[in-house]
Amino acid sequence: MSKTMAIVGTDAIAEAMRQIDPEVVAAYPITPQTAIVEKFSEYVADGLVNTQMVKVESEHSAMSACVGAAAAGGRVMTATSSQGLALMWEILYVASGLRLPIVLVNVNRTLSAPINIHCDHSDSMGARDASWIQIYSENAQEAYHNVLQAVRIAEHPEVRLPVMVNLDGFIISHAVDRIDILDDAPVREFIGEYSPAYPLLDVANPVSVGMFDGLYGYFFEAKRAQEASMEKAMYVIQQVGEEFGQRFGRPYGLWEEYGLEDARACVVALNSACGTIRTVIEAMRQEGKKIGLLKLRVFRPWPGQELVRVLQHFPVVAVFDRALAFKGGHGGPLYTEVAASLYEAEKRPLLANYVYGLGGRDLSVSMVRQALEEIWQAAEAGRVASRVNYLGLRE
């Protein structure tokens, strides 16, 4: 059913891409993503896939080529990081606006300046309003599974939106980990055939794509339809995650819970930090300090109502952000979303925000411990000492 390998995260992604065998991959190298398309281009050269690999001169062109290929009716993938995602920016909106199910693997890396190649979530968070589905992965195993599911989610007739799968740069992308790679045949059966709705290359049924819409056109209606599809995506993501579980033994939902049933404080976080946080929580629970973790997998669509149902029961909710929103001291993007959703709650928990790991600063066990002790004290005291906190900052 699967083979267990000792490989780095980028190799696990390349394996997923090999199994998906997309018609077109257009990509431009950028650290720490480069190793993905390097490995994948070996597969292309070795004839292990039928993919047309388009070598371009920038990420702007990479996404543009993806848009063209997807409009033509192909199954299309790319990968990038950081400045590369930033350079794709305007075309991200074209991809989603044209409702093209492109799958992009984003290896999270911060944005310059100062020049820094290391992990934080500034890149994907900046693209959060581009109408791309965003899925986050704790480790390479999850990233591999998420990429496989992303194809199904993106291509679902009720969704038809591009999907960005995120994993932490270097921490996950360049670490050798124990990964179970599923067999090709069941994976290909799970992914299935793609039947695009209006492929440009179907010359018997010509269509016009990307027409000028104008002041009296239907742009507003198109955007409202995108929003509705994002809402549908919430359910499709869960359906696909459930089916994945039935086939391969590991189901996926909107998030994963740890220790929430009896917790007095809940931590919300994304990506690899969740592993370290869970490990510290495990130790603290042994000491009777009942903290829980909600590891968010799906950031777009934003599961606001679903989260409120769970989070409103905790006296304290602490949100970990690996990015800033530069609102002037009001916390990071994930915190902002959680806080906004909790406005609707019958019972509003006390909130705290921990900004950590910018530019790849290590989130050590002791740092997490320090934050979690503060969170526990807040639960005990019924009062949060400081709303926005910077973990591991030299002060």
Partner: protein, 189 residues
């Protein structure tokens, strides 16, 4: 088994990252859980680098540097005076050094009294077997001995296949020889 955390200190180009990766792959052969990852940065030949391993019988969910290693591996003896190699070492942690130096002398010189210290002349072994100073394979041999998690013959067989696949049969044989010698020659105090 609790997680064993290992921190490697080496210089760029000495093959420590490869050795850490090989250890992970050998751990997979034993159905263990593992991590192997470098401290990321520009690749600069000769500059001090760190890399890390975690090994366990249970899945590992920590994704950060090793701050409190159980075992520190010093691949280049010149680093002993250059970096704080014992930083954060757990109280019963140990140090493995590539050196021909007397262990007592080493303990005294670097304030390691009361520490478990292992030494193997990995550079010397690699010169005599492989013919050049590539201390990574012999130091890995010593490390495998100290850890006691991977049987020698399994580790040697894996190493042979790795070098045979990536290089050639001659280099595979020489590296296995270096590995086995260090496995046998590692001293402790």
């Amino acid at each position: 088994m609790a997680i064993v955390e290992i921190r490697w200190h080496a210089r760029g180009g000495q093959g420590a990252v490869t050795a850490a990766k090989l250890l992970a792959e050998m751990a997979l052969q034993q159905d263990l859980y593992f991590q192997a990852f470098p401290e990321y940065g520009p690749e600069r030949m000769g500059a001090p680098i760190q890399c890390f391993n975690r090994l366990s019988t249970e899945p590992i969910n920590i994704y950060c540097s090793v701050d409190n290693p159980h075992l520190v591996v010093v691949v280049d003896p010149s680093l002993l005076g250059a970096v704080d190699f014992a930083a954060g070492l757990v109280p019963d942690g140990s140090v493995l050094v590539n050196t021909g130096e007397d262990l007592g002398h080493l303990q005294q010189r670097f304030d390691l009294a009361g520490r478990k210290v292992y030494a193997v002349n990995a550079s010397g072994i690699s010169l005599e077997t492989v013919g050049r100073a590539m201390p990574n394979t012999p130091i890995l041999g010593a490390l495998v001995k100290i850890l006691g998690l991977i049987p020698l013959e399994k580790a040697a067989a894996y190493l042979h296949d790795y070098f045979n696949e990536h290089f050639n049969a001659d280099l595979a044989a020489k590296n296995v020889q270096a590995f086995e010698r260090a496995y046998g020659e590692v001293r402790s105090a």
